[in-house]
Amino acid sequence: MGHIRLGRLPHRLKWNAVVALLGETPADGAAIARATTEAAERHLISLRDDPALNYCFWLLTRVTWAARSDGFLTELDALGLTLEADTPTLGFIAAVTDRVRTQAMQDPKSGATAEMASLALRRALTETVGQQGPSLFGTALSDLRAAFRTYSTREHFAQLAQRFFGDFLARTLCSYVDKEIPNLVGASPGLRTVGDSREAIEAIDRHARETAFILRDFAGGWYSKHQWESQGAITEGDTRAFVAYALRKMRSELKRG
């Protein structure tokens, strides 16, 4: 028990270019992210229709809006998150995890994207609460609500969107390149030690998160407009267009390096 299934990158021209960069200039996160985006472009384009990714972003917008309401618990209940007033923050996050998994089960074609979108959502939630100061282990739903209330403005929601898409993008890119990074350790000039491999993966992760900065202006404006028009009842149809835009924008930014 405790098994891990590993994979490798295929021997194709564009993936070979990624492997070469990893071995030669592993600290150049921008160059590796650019080459990876080019190699995986068709797949990255297909993510615009992914229902699980869209659901996770939609849930993030709805939780943020719900935090403005006096009936926070009722609003969460309507989203399928049935909780008590004294539920700790970690209980809330665990409930979100269950909710997303139940949703993803209905459309299993999302595959690995569903898992990465779910992780990105949960990290966006815990980081947002953590930004307010108190430990995640000592906070309850009221703290979470206070944190998200702060983020339900145009400027702050823009940060939240960056956090979510940046994390999703970082996980996606790292899941590809980490199929080869460990194999290059000790076998290439740029990756002499395990410490070097750690720096390489962190450089790509950092670059992906920074790339999502490009979404801020649009995300803030989009949120403000749609929340005002729908009075908080943003639909999954509304977010679908935003997700497609966000992915396209990040992809072109990555390719610019």
């Binding site: 590993l6 490798r8 995890t97 898992e115 460990p182 194999n183 350790v185």
Partner: protein, 570 residues
């Protein structure tokens, strides 16, 4: 996502699934179809009380296991994991189809399997006709029960299940052991281990039930076996209910149970969830519906690292039994004296764990085909597993408790949102991982120190773990900051240790300075050769220099390996 239909025990494929491209028959008797070996060997008292519904649970779990082995999850170069998830459509005969087709039961079954495997599962249950074509053979063994068992322990023959079984024995729970045999490779060593356990602790105790569920005469198309723990848990529950026991223990140490991905490519169930807390939670819900009673299927080691689980063996003086346990993921074709490949995730975790626990004598390097620390790690699984395992520990080592949750959202999936202790449970898991990271790094540091001379002289292979990790010493030094060590005189003519002042001889002073400064910088422990070279000492050994001092073995101690020294400071 590829669809697979499995028609079991001669059932025909339901019409709504007739267009699914991959169709399989799981049937022992019809020539030309997939042949299975499927039998339960149970003591009479268990067999006599095995209810039809519990037989159904075992039958369903067994067919899911056989189906899991029969359908490929794609190859190594499936970069987007398109073939990893499968749609598994199962037509199975059961004694009570109405019960199993009921929406709440079906949903619980599908959710449990979906979490465990990430596959989509759907079922059609039809009435089982008891006839000569029934595959699941129930074989009554002549072993009695030797008293009323107090718990069931799922026993794989690995180190964790040994700890769980002996811990239950020490609690006077008279554990009843349940095993699954998927291959002959596991039979011999498990029998040897059980024989020794019985000889020492209870000649008539540790009664067993065995299940043989495997594809016969055909190699599996898929060897990930994500459904194996469903089979294990189902067998345990069936046996437990038959014996009137509701304490079913499915043990893995907490690190393996949570199985955080130590490489970024291990998404979802690519890192197995065999005893994951969420799986156990989902399975308990299913088992509760089947048994119409609460069934406690739990992991007694859920919050312990591997070295901590070995503490359970100490009161019974059973640490040496670790040498009879096997953990390797690739057991086939291994020599009896070298049962571990050394490079799979289980072997690596076991190796670090036994070294951290200081029980290397019962788990020596010779038992591993590859000694990851000093032998070349080949491209592919060996190097990926070993370097990623250490990199993961490095990453966790620097994280605060809150950062752990941010960096590893997978941890929150281990929590029951409705539990009153959800925050405490989360903290417990985080701290366990922090202890694990610290332990892994201390073992690696000892190995680097212990091989410092060979490293310096370039005698180690470039791709052994010691060579690949040696550069991380610098990283640790930067990240971990400086500690405050001993209170000492200007030239170390005296030091204060545990509130008492000790005078040092001129020969001892440079060595104490070296060790104290290394401890303050969090450098790894040092071998005698390194200490001698750096202090230009003329002494023959550390014991030669400090052996008669009250500080020997109190302040100056060996760290994880013989001849490697550090200071024992808080």
């Amino acid at each position: 996502m590829k669809g697979h239909v499995f028609a079991c025990e001669g059932l025909s494929i339901p019409s709504e699934w007739s267009r699914v491209p991959h169709r399989h028959s799981l049937d022992a008797h019809n020539e030309g179809k997939t042949v299975t070996d499927f039998r339960l060997e149970l003591p009479g008292p268990v067999l006599g009380n095995l209810s039809p519904r519990m037989r159904d649970l075992v039958r369903i779990a067994s067919y899911c296991f056989l189906a899991d082995e029969s359908a490929s999850r794609g190859g190594e170069a499936d970069v987007y994991l398109k073939d990893w998830r499968r749609q598994m459509l199962m037509a199975i005969p059961v004694s009570d189809p109405d019960f199993w087709n009921a929406s709440d039961v079906s949903l619980a079954l599908r959710e449990t399997l979906n979490f465990l495997t990430e596959d989509g599962w759907d079922f059609r249950f039809e009435k089982l006709v008891e006839s000569g074509t029934v595959q699941m053979r129930l074989v009554e063994t002549d072993a009695g029960l030797h008293g009323q068992p107090g718990c069931v322990v799922l026993f794989s023959g690995g180190a964790d299940s040994l700890c769980a079984a002996l811990s239950a024995h020490q609690q006077d729970r008279n554990p009843f052991l349940v095993s699954h045999r998927a291959s002959k490779a596991a039979i011999g060593h498990r029998r040897d281990l059980l024989t020794e356990v019985r000889r020492r602790f209870a000649r008539q105790g540790f009664r067993t039930a065995d299940a043989v569920v495997s594809l016969k005469g055909a190699d599996a198309k898929e060897n990930t076996q994500r459904t194996r723990s469903m089979l294990y848990a189902s067998l345990g529950t069936a046996v437990g209910i038959a014996l009137g026991i509701d304490d079913i223990r499915l043990a893995d140490n907490g690190i393996v149970s949570v199985n955080l991905p130590f490489t970024d490519q291990a998404i979802g169930a690519r890192a197995s969830r065999s005893t994951h807390p969420k799986f156990l939670l989902l399975f308990r819900r299913l088992a509760g519906l089947v048994a119409e009673a609460d069934v406690s299927v739990w992991n007694p080691l859920w919050n312990q690292t591997r070295p901590e689980t070995f503490d359970l063996l100490k009161p019974l003086a059973a640490l040496d039994l670790v040498s009879l346990t096997h953990s390797c993921a690739h057991p086939r074709g291994r020599a009896r004296m070298q049962p571990h490949c050394g490079t799979c995730s289980q072997c690596i975790d076991r190796r670090f764990g036994t070294m951290e626990a200081g029980i290397e004598e019962y788990d020596p390097a010779e038992a591993y085909e590859v000694d990851i620390f000093t032998q070349p790690l080949l491209d592919g699984e060996p190097r990926t597993m070993a370097t990623s395992y250490f990199r993961h520990a490095l990453r966790m080592y620097d994280l605060t408790e809150d950062q752990m949750i941010n960096e590893y959202p997978q941890l929150d999936e281990c929590l029951d949102p409705s539990s009153k202790t959800v925050a405490e449970d989360g903290l417990e898991l985080v701290r366990m991982h922090q202890r694990h990271a610290k332990g892994v790094i201390s073992v690696m540091a000892s190995q680097i120190a212990g091989h410092a001379d060979e490293l310096a002289r370039g005698l180690l292979p470039a791709t052994c773990l010691v060579s690949l990790c040696a550069g991380a010493e610098k990283e640790l030094e930067i990240d971990r900051g400086r500690r405050k060590g001993l209170v000492h005189g200007e030239n170390y003519e005296s030091i204060v240790f545990r509130g008492k002042s000790y005078a040092l001889t001129p020969v001892q002073r440079p060595v104490m300075r070296l060790l104290n400064e290394a401890w303050e910088r969090r450098d790894p422990p040092m071998s005698w050769g390194v200490i001698r070279d750096r202090t230009e000492s003329l002494s023959r050994s550390m014991s030669d220099m400090f052996g008669k001092s009250p500080l020997w073995k109190r302040l100056i101690v060996e760290a994880g390996a013989r001849g490697v020294y550090t200071l024992d400071l808080p």
